[in-house]
């Protein structure tokens, strides 16, 4: 029976991790590559087979479930290692294993000269395994295990080149900031257990509407705490600062973090626990607002970055913002669909950026690139596909098909409003603009850095495959007014509720027209500003320069947190340098030393004095005996 293969999906990468971390040092590089990439590829094959079977003959309750063993059992809490696939997690495991496998194949060539080849693949495999556990878990404890595993692996991989101190700091930052969210989520899980007495997800989802009224304070608190976890992992406002620094890792790691794993965990969590969020309209609004604001401010920052990977990092934050916006307005399947297409084009962009950086001798600054169109035609074509998809070029790219419903629902969903829509549209304009800027600066213009060795074929093949999906992945779901094709949402909506629309809406084509126009305007402004020119001269006036620096530093969030949290903390620690509580213990130690000095006078080495002491003691005891 095929369902037995379910266990192997996370088990294979885990096996790869175990083998590589124990015996990796003794293995030759080809063996490491075969184990590292092979395990994930086989897992991807299993997922595809299972997925086809799932779609052809859907199980009666829409779920494949397999209990592997009981993890622990205490009191009335029983936690199983049990895996479950429904339409929602199927999308995620497909992306994780398929895109993950392509990234692994790419890495075999990309990391070939690194001396820590085995460590790299061990971490990557563990990363994939943790993420798979996260999305396949059917209880929140197992989900949390995967959640923390993802955090650990991101730490290991961002700090992969640990000899450079800045990389270690970036890893620490990523770990600590996501930790803040994780703590909130953990408290949320405790509260969930207190309210429901179980952490089995289907039970919680089933019981929640019966036990709690709409907008109950307790459920709002739980939903907000879970949202805290999601915000931390998905790098949304206000915990987004770790993601741009996470570029310190190798390019495939960035691709894996941004496309397949890690940052989408928050989206998954909210979609998975959607019943709780629906019970709390306040939290839904918060989710939507966080998404809308994040997508806007991250887009603005992407507009002025000069490091190719940082541009992509900010664009990831921005695109995840779209997903949060969609989740917040209740457009569940639109959010998941945007995740689906985003994974392809963002992985593509990161891998292509890796190729470019590698070919230009580790040059990250886009203004030092230029003129790569002729010299790296394949990379150019694939990058163009990715960038077009990112800027949602109408009808020909996957990004359009997934972003258009979000823009539409931002206005038309019951929870949506004009302001959210305006921010989303502004974000679409900015996205198109910075994508154009990135393309023009990197691939057009004159060459500024000589191109190094030609790219290995193993790195090109994943690019082409991803480029294909970046263009075509959107065709499975069309806007309703254009073509009645909804292969994606018809499955996902078995798990997630359909979007509730407002009454009396303007026609949908109007919004699509505006979105298309805005995208075109964004591309055109990018073209006008950057084609054949060195770009915007920000230094022209001090005002512009200040704005640029403000955006460049990511709206000064790092400085703000430094001022709000780090400085006061350092201040307090400095005041309390001689720890108050330590003084008590120091006093105790000093008292003992003094007592010791006092008594050690009696140990003067005179044998006769000792005997006299013994005699006095005996007489004392005898006297006591006689008297009492």
């Amino acid at each position: 029976m095929l369902i037995q293969l379910l266990t192997y999906i996370p088990a294979l990468p885990f096996w790869g991790f175990i083998v590589l971390s124990l015996f990796g040092r003794q293995m030759s590089k080809p063996v490491i590559a075969w184990i590292g990439a092979g395990t994930v590829c086989i897992a991807a094959l299993i997922v595809i087979i299972l997925g086809i079977q799932f779609l052809q003959t859907p199980p009666a309750d829409g779920i494949y479930r397999q209990v592997v063993w009981t993890w622990f059992h205490t009191g009335n809490l029983s936690v199983d290692i049990s895996l479950r696939i429904d339409a929602l997690s199927l999308v995620f495991i497909f992306i994780i294993t398929f895109v993950g496998a392509l990234i692994h194949i790419y890495s075999t060539a990309f990391m070939h000269h690194d001396r820590d080849y085995a460590r790299f693949f061990a971490c990557m495999n563990l990363f994939v395994c943790s993420m798979l556990l996260l999305v396949m878990a059917d209880n929140l404890v197992l989900l949390y295990l995967g959640w923390e595993g993802v955090g650990l692996c991101s730490f290991l991989l961002i700090g992969f080149w640990y000899e450079v101190p800045a990389n270690g700091q970036a890893a620490n930052k990523a770990f600590l900031i996501t930790r803040i969210g994780d703590t909130a989520m953990l408290i949320g899980l405790f509260l969930l257990f207190k309210e429901f007495g179980t952490l089995y997800i289907p039970d919680i989802l089933q019981q929640a509407p019966q036990r709690f009224a709409q907008g109950d304070g307790r459920i709002t608190l739980i939903a907000l705490l879970l949202l805290g976890g999601a915000v931390g992992k998905s790098a949304q406002l206000p915990l987004q600062t770790w993601l741009p620094d996470a570029m310190a890792g190798p390019s495939p790691v960035s691709a894996l973090i941004h496309a397949a794993t890690m940052v989408t965990a928050g989206v998954y969590l909210i979609a998975r626990m959607h019943v709780l969020f629906q019970l709390s309209p306040v939290t839904m609004t918060v989710v939507a607002v966080i998404g809308a604001v994040t997508l806007f401010i991250a887009g603005c920052s992407a507009l002025v970055q000069t490091d190719i990977k940082r541009i992509l990092a900010y664009s990831t934050i921005s695109q995840i913002g779209y997903m949060f916006l969609a989740l917040g307005v209740g457009a569940w399947s639109a959010a998941i669909f945007h995740f689906f297409t985003h994974a392809f084009f963002k992985a593509l962009l990161f891998l292509a950026a890796g190729v470019v950086i590698e070919a230009l001798h580790h040059e990250h600054n886009i203004f030092m690139m230029g003129g790569l169109k002729k010299r790296m035609p394949v990379v150019f074509m694939t990058f163009l596909a990715g960038a077009a998809s990112l800027s949602a070029l109408p009808l020909v790219t996957a990004g359009f098909f997934s972003k258009d419903p979000i823009l539409w629902f931002a206005w038309s969903a019951a929870n949506g409003n004009a302001l959210l829509w305006a921010l989303a549209i502004a974000g679409a304009f900015i996205t198109a603009m910075y994508s154009t800027r990135l393309m023009l600066v990197v691939f057009w213009g004159e060459a500024k850095t000589p191109v190094g060795a030609p790219t290995a074929r193993l790195m090109i093949v994943p690019l082409v495959v991803l480029a294909f999906f970046s263009i075509t992945a959107g065709f499975i779901e069309w806007p309703h007014n254009l073509l009645l094709l909804d292969l994606f949402s018809q499955h996902v909506q078995k798990i997630l509720p359909a979007t509730i629309l407002k009454q009396q809406l303007p026609a949908e084509w109007l919004f699509q027209g505006i979105a298309v126009l805005i995208t075109a305007a964004g591309i055109y402004s990018g073209y006008v500003l950057y084609y054949g020119k060195p770009g915007v001269r920000w230094q022209q006036s001090p005002g512009l320069s200040a704005v640029r620096n403000f955006l460049f530093s990511g709206w000064k969030f790092d400085q703000l947190y430094d001022l709000l949290f780090v400085k006061p903390f350092v201040f307090v620690t400095r005041i309390n340098k001689n720890d108050v509580i330590d003084r008590m213990y120091n006093g105790l130690a000093r008292g003992s030393v003094r007592l010791n000095n006092l008594l050690s006078v009696s140990q003067n080495g005179s044998l006769r004095l000792y005997i006299a002491g013994v005699l006095v003691g005996i007489l004392f005891i005898i006297t006591l005996q006689l008297l009492l």
């Binding site: 006078v601 003067n604 044998l607 006769r608 005997i611 006299a612 005699l615």
Partner: protein, 101 residues
Amino acid sequence: MIDNAHIVLIVAAVLFALGLIGVLTRKNVIFMLISVEIMLNAAGLAFVAAGSKWQQPDGQVMFLFILAMAAAEVSIGLAMVLQIHHQHKTLDVEKLKELRD
């Protein structure tokens, strides 16, 4: 009336006191050792006296134990005295103060 046992016990107490005073006042290690022997014999005498008063063999058994122990103690003690003399060229207990704090 004072019976024999009492007299012997008083003798034993006097002997013990003499030994104790010897240990406390003598400076020479050998003399201190001999004083300890006197104290041991005083204790043995007390055992014998008690054993004869209650007509029990235990007192004499205990004396035999003390005798054996005293022999062992003296042999070890004298060996240590020899070593002390060998290493420090003195048997004055007031000068052997290395084990002080």
